[in-house]
Every structure is written in C-alpha cells, then in structure tokens.
C-alpha cells in the first residue's frame, strides 16, 4: 500500500520527505509521479527529513522540487537518510573560493 505520509514533489526527484517517523527496516512503497518506488529504510528518519528513492553516487545531484538541492558527498544508497552528513550546497561556498578563510586556517 502506498505511503500516505511520505511525499515526493516532482517525478524526477530522487528523495522523498517523511511526514511521519520512519524506522530502519521498514519497507516503503512511495508514490512518485504516476508510479511507485519501493525502498527499504536503512536508518530511522525523523518527521520532515528525507529518504533516498534510488542510489545516488558521490558527486551526483540530489533532486527535490525537480531541481538540484546540492550534491551527494558520499555514495548514498536507496533507503538512506539524506541530510547534511551526505549532501553539500553549491551556493554561499566561501570555503571553496580562492581566498578562503577556512582554507587559510
């Protein structure tokens, strides 16, 4: 049965938002566009946090609202919790600019 409280915004998204607490080991059938995707939760996921709908290799784009919300910093498996520990932003990255204060520190 399709999960009512796990939401995907656009069909091309590779993450879903949990609108309930998810426990590791749960098998989840999630509506994506006109179809469904089934994944096994690899970790507990809190209300409001995200779960990967497919494998996202390190460096690849994490997609929500049909757009990039950043890049995976490690290989993210389908069913994994997706958050700050495995995704980085492409904006406001003074730490990556040539005269970075962090790089100098």
């Amino acid at each position: 049965m399709v999960e009512r409280h796990i939401q995907v915004v656009e069909p091309e998204d590779n993450v879903a938002t949990a609108l309930r607490e998810i426990e590791a080991g749960e098998t989840l059938t999630i509506a994506v566009g006109d179809g469904t995707v089934t994944v096994e939760a690899l970790a507990d996921v809190e209300f409001g946090h995200k779960i990967a709908l497919e494998d996202i290799p390190a460096g690849e784009t994490v997609v929500k609202y049909g757009k990039s919300i950043g890049n995976a910093t490690e290989d993210v498996d389908a069913g994994a919790w997706v958050h700050v520990h495995n995704v980085e932003s492409n904006y406001g990255r003074g730490d990556l600019s040539a005269d970075s204060a962090e790089a100098d520190a």
Partner: protein
C-alpha cells in the same frame, strides 16, 4: 465583499491600525523614546543601533526605513527624537513625515537642554497625537488599497509542502480578485530557484535585475571565506529536515505562487502603487526582512513558519501560519492559523487558503493578531557596510 474598515490618510493611503510612532534617529535617543512610549498609551517606540557614524549607503537605507515607518499607512502621526546633530537628521525626517499630511514633531535632546526636558516634550507631542488618533473612526475602503507582505520564519520541510501553498493562494486572491499588491523578500533565499523566478518578471530589465541581485548575494557570502551553512540554512532549519540553502529556497519560493513579478525594489523602499506582486531585496534574516517590508508600507504580513516563531512587527500586524502539526505546541501563543490538516489530514489547500483569508480579513478590520495581543515585536534595519 471587497471593502474593509480602515483609517483614511491625507496622502491617499488607508491604514488598518492607527498607531502613533515615536522614532529614534540614533542610539543615544533610544532611552528617551522607550521611556516616552512607556508613559504614553497607544504609542509604538522605534529604536535601533544605527543613524550615526554610518557610511552613505547605510545612511540612505536607515533614513528610508525610518521614514517608511513614520509615514506607514498604519501610522496616524510620528514624533521623531534625535540626540544631537546626526547624519540621519531628525528635523528632516519629521518634515518629510509632515509632507504626507500626518501630524509630526521633532525633538532634539541637546536643543531641549537635557533628557528630562526632551522626555517631557516627547510625551506632550505624543499625547496630543494619541488623543486625536483615538477620535478618528474606521471607514469602508476598497481592498485594492492593501499591500500583503509575506515572509518565512524558521522554515522546515513542511513550509514548501503546505503552509506556503496556502499563503500563495491568499496573496494572489488579493492581487487577482481585488487588484491589491503583494510583496515578498529574502533574496538570499532564492538560491537554486532564481532562474525560474526571473522568468516570471514582467520584462527583461526586471528579469536581469533579479538574477544580478541573487548573484550579488552569493558573491557577498562567498567573500566571507566560509561555507554559509549554519547561517543558511539555520540550525533550526536543519533540525526540521532542510539540508541546503537550495532546498530551503525552493520551498521558500512556493509562498510567492507562480504569477508575474512587477519589480524588485531596494531594502526599505516604498512598494509601488500598481497592483501585482513585488520583491524587496533583503537578507533572509527574518527581523531584517520583516522590518524592510514594513518600511515598504505593507499593511499586514503573513509569516509562514515551519517550526513556529515569535517574529513580529509593531506597526504592521503579523499573522503566523503553520502547516507543521508539531509547531503549535512549540509556540502556541504565537500561532494564528494552523493548516496542518492539509498536510497530514484530509483537508486540501483551498481549505487552507480559506482559513488564512478568513483570519486575515478579520485582522484587517481590527482583530488583533496573537503577537499584537502579547505586545511582541522586533525591529532590525539591515546594515550594508561598516560603522566609521
């Protein structure tokens, strides 16, 4: 019905509140302003750390913002209190307020020969205005007079999925059905969605201006030499599941709907008279963006919050809406509208928009918001450069 009950002003605007503002032009007049407002009922003190030893871009921005409050549609009259001679000039500010037909007074602590004399003069001027303001009656006015401000606060992943959809439907109801205006802000929270947003501009000039201003913010943040994460998204955003500024931005833009953008204006500038949706160029810092939108003349603001927030403004009523079923428990006395049943229950977003619209029309007619009833407000003018 397309009429509300408001206070007519000589400059043609119509207010939904009838405040007397007491405005400080520099930190050294703040205490006198606070004390005068404590003594005089129904006054709003406006204090800040700016107005002295600032470079010109900040002087212009501070002046523009204070004048925006002194001449706000919800303001009946204004007392300006200065410490001495300042680069943000008290007499000039009071004179510019008077040009809109509002009662105004200018008090200068040095010229009054002391804070006690200045306090007496401020209270005398404020008392007279408060008495006259209390004698003014609300009259019917067309909804087209209204400017609807929008801001996020402590966003989480529910914001873009739920409450922002209700907010967008409500603001476009005012624009499309009543020829009113809407304004949203927080340019640093357009990152990742700026191209789609710019496509909504009414012409190429506005389109380019949106892209340039977003790029300017990205460069300003990069110039710090640090990763912006922690400042954007904030720790409470991340607790709520938002991972990057792009994810926060794409959610944040949902509250602006998908209709045309008329223009993008400087921080604290008056929102133009024409009907439609406008952007004000502000940081994502809530107290600063809300203060800027208030200076722009928005009559009221819907603050669309994820985790719950105290963000509010004393001149422009702030209506807090949430779609996170857990938020009402976090800040119960600050949540005006809870539409979480549209996210986790059986309701739809038309229902959610109706909930918001019904509450905001009452607030326009005089019902207090939760934060007004508690006397909650913040005031923070965005600063551009260094003090000197």
């Amino acid at each position: 019905m397309s009429e509300f009950l408001g206070y007519e002003r000589d400059d043609g605007s119509v207010g939904i509140r009838n405040h007397v503002a007491i405005i400080s032009t520099a930190p050294y007049a703040n205490d006198t302003v606070e004390r005068a407002a404590e003594i005089t009922e129904n006054t709003v003190p406006i204090t800040h750390p700016l107005g002295r030893c600032q470079t010109k871009p900040d002087v212009f921005q501070t002046y523009r913002t204070l004048l925006g409050y002194g001449t706000h549609p919800n303001v009946y009259g204004t007392v300006v209190v200065a410490h001495a001679g300042e680069i943000v000039d008290g007499d000039e500010l009071a004179s510019d307020v008077a040009e809109t037909g509002r009662p105004s007074a200018s008090i200068n602590i040095h010229e009054e020969k002391g804070v006690m004399n200045a306090l007496q003069a401020t209270v005398n001027a404020a008392q007279e205005m408060v008495l006259d303001a209390s004698d003014q009656r609300r009259v019917p006015a067309d909804y087209s007079n209204l400017t609807f401000g929008i801001n996020c606060a402590t966003s989480d992943t529910t914001s873009g999925l739920c409450q922002h959809k209700a907010t967008a439907k409500a603001v476009w109801r005012l624009i499309d059905d009543h020829d009113g205006r809407g304004v949203f802000a927080e340019t640093a929270e357009f990152f990742g969605g700026e191209h789609e947003l710019a496509e909504r501009a009414v012409n190429d000039e506005v389109k380019q201006e949106i892209l340039d201003r977003v790029d300017h913010w990205d460069k300003r943040l990069q110039a710090t030499g640090y990763d912006v994460r922690g400042a954007q998204p904030t720790p409470d955003n991340m607790d709520g599941g938002l991972t990057t500024i792009e994810e926060k931005s794409l959610g944040a833009l949902v509250k602006s709907g998908d209709g045309p953008i008329q223009d993008i204006v400087d921080y604290g500038s008056k929102i133009p008279d024409g009907s439609g949706m406008y952007i004000m160029d502000t940081p994502g810092h809530g107290a600063e963006s809300v203060t800027g939108i208030g200076a722009g003349g928005a009559h009221f603001m819907v603050i669309s919050t994820g985790q719950g927030h105290t963000l509010s403004n004393a001149i422009m009523p702030t209506i807090k809406i949430t779609g996170n079923p857990n938020s009402r428990e976090r800040v119960p006395e600050e949540t005006d509208v809870d539409v979480s049943e549209a996210l986790v229950g059986d309701k739809d977003y038309d229902w959610a928009a109706d909930q918001l619209w019904n509450e905001l029309t009452r607030i326009v007619d005089g019902k207090l918001t939760m934060s007004e009833a508690l006397g909650e407000s913040q005031f923070a003018i965005h600063r551009i450069g260094p003090s000197t």
